[in-house]
Structure formats: structure tokens, C-alpha cells
Amino acid sequence: MSKTAKTSKVLNILKYIINIPNVFFVGAVGLALYKINELALDPAKNQYLIKVDPAKGVIYQAPWAYIAVLVFFEALFLYRLFRGKKKFVNTTDLYTIVFAVFLFWDSGVKIFGILPFNLLPPPQNVFNVFTLDYAVMIDGFFQSMFLIVVSVGLGMGLGILCGLFIGWYQRAKEAISPIINLIAAVPALVYAPYIVAITPTFKAASIIVIFMGIYFPTMMNMVSNVQAVDAKLIDSAKSLNMSSLSILVKILLPECAIPIIGSLRIRVATAFLILIMAETIGANSGLGYYVKRWVAWSDYTKTFAGIILIAVVVTGINALIALFERKVLKWIEPQK
């Protein structure tokens, strides 16, 4: 092997080890430990870095939660780099940004003082909240998910069924669609406070509000899908001797409703938007309530943790829905 070939091979291996994300990662971990004692001993800044246990006295909370998050991203980065399908530079670009954000956040608060400590606490404080409040968070997660699943399920299910019939019976469409258009024109966020105010329990109120926000768009979507069905498809179903009812259920329903699953992601995002808004008005549990409560207490460390939690939950659910779509919509032509 020639000398240049050898060198280029060594360089090639080196670029997996010495690259900007890796350097930033090491820097971020170092920075997480830097001045940690000072932080913990300062009563104004030790929020959630020190935990008092009556039996054992003071327990020092090192920034392990934050470091665990950094390590998680680093592991993800290395995995993507060696196993991923994306180009080398795309992966390094992305993780450069990820670690740069953490570095900027931590150093901006702790070292340079660009970011005000009280309004934006450093990441080690924020991530420690998860180790303290996980029980409340998990409970809030399930409360919120329950409301989302029930109301999105009802909204989409009934929306699809009503849309199917209204789209099929021209006369029903003529009669109903102006009314529906009027109702659907009002964003759910507008009447949410009103419904929360007049409904006895918060759960019922948020189910109603999310339901309205999901039901009307789904139904209108379904009506237009049914009307756009090519007459030839219906002809070919009729030529298989199908009755009107079975054409409706066996042909139009899958033909028009399954593409609506493609809009599930938007609907769930809308549902979260409405729910979290509603929770900030009238709930006493849930993800939105958690954020609202700590904002009211001016505890921005917990506020921030709550916001990160919502981001993670929504992203995770989106990923699950995408997976579900790929499984269910196998027959849909791959989008090019």
C-alpha cells in the first residue's frame, strides 16, 4: 500500500473520531461539570441541584440528568454516523447544531451571563427536574393522552362516518354544508374558554372542544373525498353486483377514509394545541397544566422542563403515527 493511500485511510478513520459534534460533546460535558459546586452552594442558583432528604441530610445532585441527555445524543450521533442512511455531512451538521445549542445555553447562563439565570436556568437544573417530578409528569402525560385519544377517536370516527353519508347523499350535502362551513369557520381556540366555563368537569369540556376542532375538518375532508371519487370506480363496484350500502361501506369508506389517516398527524397536533391551551385555562392536571402552574409560580426551571416534556411527547407521538401510517397505508403509492 502506498504511503498516500495509508494516510488517506488513517484520515478517513480520524474524521469519525475528530469532528465538530464530538468536540462539542466533550466540551458540553466538561461545561456541565464546570462551576457545579459554586452553583450548588449559591442559594439563588441551586434550584433542583440540591435535594434535601430528611433521613440522609443534604444530597448533592450532580448534573447527571443533563449529562445523560448529552450522552444519549452522542450515542444517537455515533449510531447515525456508522449505521445511518444519511450522508456523513448531513449527520455531522445536525449534531453540530444540537450540541452547539446545549453549549450556548449552558455557557450563556453560567459563564457569559448573556442569558438571565432566573428566566432561563442552565440545562443541568432543568434536566434535574425530570428526576424529581417524574411521577407528576407521567401522571400528567396519561391524563392528557386519555383526553387526546378519546376526543380524536370520536372526532375522526364520527367525522368520517358523517362525511361519508353527507358526501354520498347530494341532498344532505346541499342542506348541511353551509351550516357546517359556518361552524367550522370559528377556530376551536375561540370558543374553548366558553366551553370550559360552562361545562361542569374539565375532562368533559376538553373532550368537547377537541372533538369540535377535529370533527368538522375531518368531516369536510371526507365529504370532498367522497365527491371526488371517480364515477368509474363506483361503476366498477356496481358491476360486481354490490348494493348501494355495501358500496358505501366496502368501497367508498376505504377509498376515502384511509387517505384521511394521512391527516392524522395534523389532527393530533391540532388536538394537542387545543388541549394544552384548554389545560392552561381550567385543568388541575396534565402536561399543559404543569407548565401553566409553574409559570404562575415564576418557577421557570420547571416551566422549561414542562415545555421540553411536551416537545418530546408530541414528537414521539408523531413518530408513532408515521410508523402506523406506513403499516396501514401499504397500498398507497409511495410518494415521490
Binding site: 370506480l233 353486483n241 376505504p254 377509498e255
Partner: protein, 261 residues
């Protein structure tokens, strides 16, 4: 009895309005077991005629008779293959065929239907692709599935509306041969009404070619190249050239008439 009789048939869309007639006083008789091609310029009413035979539309005046009975709606004695849209895209090829079989014969067991479906998919050369979805199959393969489904439903009358219209030449030839072979090999001699705008296709496939001009039948030509015809022999024959010229001339006349207008 599965002969078709078009008895003084007239039709217009939008029956109560003032729409023009699309078909006027059509009279024709198609014998049981005959393979008839309708050919003519686009818009002359060929597809409309198929919907009338199938019962998707009902005549404004006159009757369509199958045997001795007037058509009042779709029936399991007839089956249509369209150019597109014949298959349901959320079902695999096999499920599509099974669906058709179950529609035609509600009492059949799931196992029998599955075996029958696979049998017909094998006949059209798609046994290996039975579990693919329509979008994973080429246009020609999709039409093979549609034909398999139509035949598996065991209709007396097979109606085909430009089934190979969107398929490339080579595949179209293969499909034509497959169709002839399937029609000849089955024990039941089916009546086939086949629509096309391709003169060669009509001549090669049909026992009889009916040329339509807008609204009416212009000419009714008996072909009959006999069973087990060979494409190269048919195309080389004088009879073929003679008939081809005659049909092509009919298309020309039509163009000239339009130019004069």
C-alpha cells in the same frame, strides 16, 4: 341463453333535460358465444353502450335483452373490465379476485374462493405476484388481474371497455393472445363485447366488428379468422388487409365529414 339483443335502443344522459341523444335507434343482435368488437371514433357512444348492456344506465327508449329478459340493472351474468379503476387499490391482487368471486357467489367458502383466485391468477401468469398491491404491478399486470377477476366470477357475458387502451404495444399483444386463449380454453363459451379504437386489435380478436359513428351503427362486418389463430398469419392474409382498409376508410370518411362541417 346469453345472447344480447339491442332492440331499437336510444339513450341520453340526463333523461328529463333537453340533452342530446348519445345513442339513437340501435338495433343489433349478438349471438351466444360470439366475440364482438365495437369500434369507432371517440365520443361515438361505445362506453355508453357498454353501461347500457351492463345495466349501469337504463335505456331512454327501447330495450337491451339478455336472452329473453330486459336488463334492469347489473347482474351476475355480466361483468365489465374497464381501462382503469377495475381494481381496488387497498386490496392485493389475490384479495381483489377473491372479492369478485364472493360477490358472484356468496355461498362459496373462503378456502374455495382462495383456491379459485389463485387458479385464475396462475392462468394469467401472476401466481408469483398474487400478494402485491395494484400500485406494485405494471399497467399490463393490473389488467391481467382484472381479467382474472372477471373470468373467476364466471359471467356468461364479458364486457370490456378499451381494456388494453393504456398498455404498450408488446404487452397489449400478449394480453390479446391471453384473452383469446382464455376464451377458447374455458368449457363455457362466453359472449364477449369488446370496445376498442384500434383497428388491428378489433380485427385480430373479433368474430364480428361493428363500426359505430356518433349515435348509430354504421357497419357490421363478419371477420372470423377461426380458432387458434396465429398473429403473423392473420396479419399476412389478404382478407386482413382488405378488412383493415375498409375499416380505416370508415375512420377517414368521418374525418372528412368533420372537416366539411
Amino acid at each position: 341463453m346469453s345472447g344480447i339483443k339491442l332492440d331499437n335502443l336510444s339513450f341520453r344522459y340526463n333523461q328529463n333535460g333537453s340533452a342530446d341523444y348519445v345513442l339513437e335507434n340501435i338495433n343489433a343482435e349478438i349471438k351466444e358465444g360470439e366475440f364482438v368488437c365495437f369500434i369507432g371514433p371517440s365520443g361515438c357512444g361505445k362506453s355508453t353502450l357498454i353501461t347500457l348492456i351492463e345495466g349501469l344506465n337504463l335505456p331512454t327508449e327501447g330495450k337491451v335483452l339478455i336472452g329473453d329478459n330486459a336488463v334492469t340493472g347489473p347482474g351476475s351474468d355480466r361483468c365489465v373490465v374497464f381501462q382503469h379503476y377495475s381494481l381496488f387499490k387497498w386490496m392485493t391482487a389475490r384479495k381483489n379476485v377473491i372479492f369478485g368471486i364472493k360477490q358472484a357467489n356468496k355461498k362459496i367458502s373462503a378456502k374455495e374462493a382462495d383456491a379459485l383466485a389463485l387458479d385464475y391468477l396462475t392462468k394469467v401468469g401472476l401466481a408469483e405476484n398474487a400478494d402485491k398491491y395494484p400500485h406494485q404491478l405494471s399497467g399490463g399486470m393490473q389488467q391481467r388481474v382484472a381479467i382474472a377477476r372477471a373470468l373467476a366470477m364466471n359471467p356468461d357475458i364479458l364486457l370490456m371497455d378499451e381494456p388494453f387502451g393504456a398498455i404498450d404495444t408488446k404487452n397489449r399483444m400478449q394480453l390479446q393472445d391471453l384473452l383469446l386463449q382464455l376464451c377458447e380454453s374455458e368449457e363455457k363459451k362466453r359472449t364477449v363485447v369488446f370496445i376498442t379504437h384500434d383497428v388491428e386489435e378489433a380485427l385480430y380478436l373479433a368474430d364480428r366488428v361493428i363500426y359505430m359513428e356518433p349515435k348509430r351503427i354504421k357497419e357490421d362486418i363478419t371477420i372470423d379468422f377461426g380458432p387458434k389463430r396465429v398473429r403473423s398469419e392473420v396479419f399476412a392474409s389478404d382478407k386482413y388487409h382488405h378488412l383493415r382498409n375498409r375499416l380505416v376508410t370508415l375512420f377517414y370518411e368521418n374525418i372528412d365529414a368533420e372537416v366539411v362541417l
